[in-house]
């Protein structure tokens, strides 16, 4: 994984010094809260319902065991012993003190981490595929480009106060695990088939999608540039961001994202304006210096070479099961078999596999939460089994990317002790959820009790496995941090006359075939939600053809049969029905 050079290290160290001074000025009253706010946000510090929350970047989802131990240390020393992994490859601590944040940032800087630009109206943490470099379906390892763009965007002076936040996601695989179509800019890396040059880096091109996003106006990004040679990314993105910085709306917070500008101009006109601006860079030798060089590629890419894989025998799942047979009791056999099926993913290298550690136990902790004990244990597992590295997924789970297949059983046993092997990856209870109204001051409604209630309702693993692939995403408000728009089932908290209600969307999907879910009708009370989900699932089970997934059944039948059953015994909106909030 990437190692800071002295430039990277100097920059994060000096950023800590800068923030320490800003906090001091805030505390001694020479910096007003209103003017401090954008500064602390650009260092990931929110003021939440109960306390300050610090969001720390895990650039493109890559984490070392050492870094994870530091996060565990921070959780214990400065927070309440746990952290929350987010959908955009960050970790959040919910209970920090303003006075201590410079010290936390200094601890992070020691292990090459920071909270720079994890919030605020600037270029946010750049996200990518949690399986980058190991996925069997990958055609380009996106990490060198991610790192080059991380450096390029860090403290970029021209784009320090954009109209609104700006999120990049970068994909290099056949499947999309980054939701790049729902980002302000999505970058899809490809090998240029027309290139005659043998060098990999010269063959690398980028398709640029702009104007995707969730929130109040969910929309998928439009392709605005095809086959951009990789080294032009800084100048092209500067041109793109300059058009947005100059012309994005600043009069209305809800209309300030780039998607509104792209929509207002039309994608073709937006692309034309970017192209016009970019042409100036292109033609000017001084500006040409903005572009990445082969030296820079080499400097960064050398950190993303393959680890020292061993030549190994390849095992099928049934071989792995039969090897394990004699040492497992009946329950363990089922658990291990299901885990192989759901939580173990194919790897580029024969004899290796990637393992997803589930941070979605049924009903006991919030989706994406990990305790400091779990973090330390996972760090040990990473050291022992996976070259000391791990990754954070968009679905708020953790990945050990390079496991020898022959070690899977040992890993499973070890991770089981820390409640990390629930075989529910990609199933109904692998819920994406924002922290919601329990923590967030923006939220209209709570997310976590809803997630808990659904997980408790669907606690039968036999049944979950029978249902197969299905995504359920929960957001506590229209800011959509829980990505409900792209969940097969989406749950959105809304406020009606001071009460918490929940709106259901169906048919959302992430990936190359992404779609935005449709609202099924009027919203429900909190404690109706498990029944509503049950009726949606029952409709699917009754209507599905053999092997048909939930989303395929939905796409075949449309919303009507689901809607009909969902409202048959719920959503009457009668106060006399004694329905209310989930305690």
């Amino acid at each position: 994984m990437y190692k800071y050079d002295h430039i990277d290290q100097t920059l994060v160290d000096q950023r800590v010094t800068q923030f320490r001074d800003q906090v001091e000025r805030r505390l001694n009253g020479t910096l007003a809260e209103e003017e401090f706010r954008p500064l602390r946000l650009q260092n990931g510090l929110y003021h939440q319902r109960h306390a300050y929350m610090l969001r720390i970047a895990i650039p493109y989802g890559l984490l070392s065991a050492k870094q994870l131990r530091t996060l565990a240390f921070i959780a214990d020393k400065y927070d309440r012993g746990y952290g929350h992994f987010t959908t955009r490859q960050n970790i959040q601590f919910n209970w920090v003190e303003l006075e201590q944040t410079p010290d936390i940032l200094a601890e992070l800087a020691k292990v090459e981490m920071h909270a720079i630009q994890t919030s605020g109206n600037c270029i946010r943490n750049i996200t990518s595929d949690a399986f980058a470099g190991v996925a069997a379906d990958e055609y380009i390892d996106p990490r060198p480009i991610c790192e080059l763009l991380r450096q390029w965007s860090t403290l970029h002076p021209e784009f320090a106060h954009l109209p609104r936040k700006f999120k990049f996601a970068i994909n290099g695989a056949k499947e999309d695990r980054t939701v790049f179509l729902c980002h302000d800019v999505g970058i899809e890396l490809k090998k240029n088939p027309n290139s005659n040059n043998g060098e990999l880096t010269d063959e690398l091109t980028a398709d640029i999608y702009a104007g995707g996003g969730m929130g109040r106006t969910p929309i998928l990004g439009s392709l605005i540039k095809q086959s951009l040679p990789w080294h032009f990314l800084p100048s092209y993105l500067t041109a793109l961001l300059r058009v947005y910085n100059r012309f994005g709306r600043r009069d209305n917070l809800y209309k300030a994202r780039i998607k509104i500008l792209v929509k207002a101009l039309g994608p073709e006109e937006f692309a034309r304006q970017v192209e016009t601006e970019w042409a100036q860079f292109h033609n000017d030798s001084k500006q040409g210096k903005d572009n990445f060089t082969q030296d820079e590629w080499d400097r960064v890419a050398k950190h993303f070479t393959k680890p020292s894989y061993r030549p190994l025998q390849v095992f099928s799942n049934s071989q792995l099961q039969s090897h394990a047979e004699s040492t497992l009791n009946a329950n363990e056999k089922i658990g291990f078999t299901r885990w192989l099926e759901r939580n173990v993913k194919p790897h580029q290298v024969p004899g290796y596999a990637s393992v997803i550690l589930s941070l979605k136990p049924h009903g006991t902790t919030a989706p994406g939460d990990a305790t400091s004990d779990q973090m330390n244990a996972i760090a040990d597992l990473a050291d022992q089994y996976s070259f000391g590295e791990l990754r954070v997924t968009h679905e708020q789970n953790l990945v050990l990317a390079d496991i020898e297949q022959a070690e899977l059983l040992n890993l499973w046993r070890a991770a089981k002790n820390y409640n990390l092997v629930l075989p529910n990856i990609g199933l109904l209870t692998d819920i994406i959820a924002c922290p919601g109204g329990d923590f967030c001051s923006l939220a209209n409604a709570k997310s976590l009790p809803i997630a808990k209630a659904i997980q408790e309702r669907f606690d039968n693993l036999d049944y979950l496995h029978d249902l197969g692939d299905i995504t359920l995403n929960i957001s506590g408000c229209i800011n959509s941090c829980g990505h409900h728009h792209v969940g097969n089932i989406g749950v959105l908290g809304v406020d009606k006359d001071g009460e918490e209600w929940y709106q259901i969307t169906l048919g959302g999907e992430q990936g190359k075939d992404a779609s935005i879910g449709k609202v099924i009708g009027p919203s429900f009370y909190a404690n109706e939600i498990p029944d509503v989900i049950t009726s949606l699932i029952n409709t699917y089970v009754e209507q599905r053809t053999a092997d048909e997934s939930f989303i395929d059944t939905y796409r075949r039948l449309g919303i009507a049969p689901f809607k009909e059953t969902a409202y048959r015994s719920n959503g009457k909106h009668s106060k006399e029905s004694n329905k209310g909030a989930i305690a």
């Binding site: 920059l11 000096q14 390029w152 403290l155 002076p157 800084p234």
Partner: protein, 182 residues
Amino acid sequence: MNKQIISFPINSRPSLVPNEWQVWDGEQDEDGIPDLEHGLHKVLVPFHWWITHYKNPDITQRANQGDIGIWFAADDDILKHADIIEASKSLWPVIGAHFPIFRDGRSFSTAALLRDRFAWQGEIRAIGDVLIDQLIQSSRVGFDAFELRADQNLDVALKQFDLFSVVTQNSWRDQRATIAAS
């Protein structure tokens, strides 16, 4: 107006210097710039006012004496007015760019374009809601003079420019530091 500004020319050290320029909002007088006989003689006029008045002989004369500069509002599209800017810029000793509020970053792009596209070599002065914590970014994109909001501590302000010794992207003031692959 602030009696002192920070001047930070490229390849030089930042320092406090007397403020010689009055920023005029263009609104108090229909007929022309305010009477400057009894105060400062130099005035930055709004660019939109310049467009409609620069052919006025009195204005031309005062501009020729070096007493008139212009300032761009955050929402001025300077590329749309490229012809007028190219034709007029030799008359301006100073260009201002305005921050209606500190967290409005449009003037960062204005300054970058003035340096890149118009090859403007003269002073670009940050005016308006200019706070200590905008100085680093603005000094990098093209600004080299700063009239801070009156309540800002100038000693604290001057220290900002030394906070970072490295940058990771190019800008008007500095090129990104790079280390060759070893």
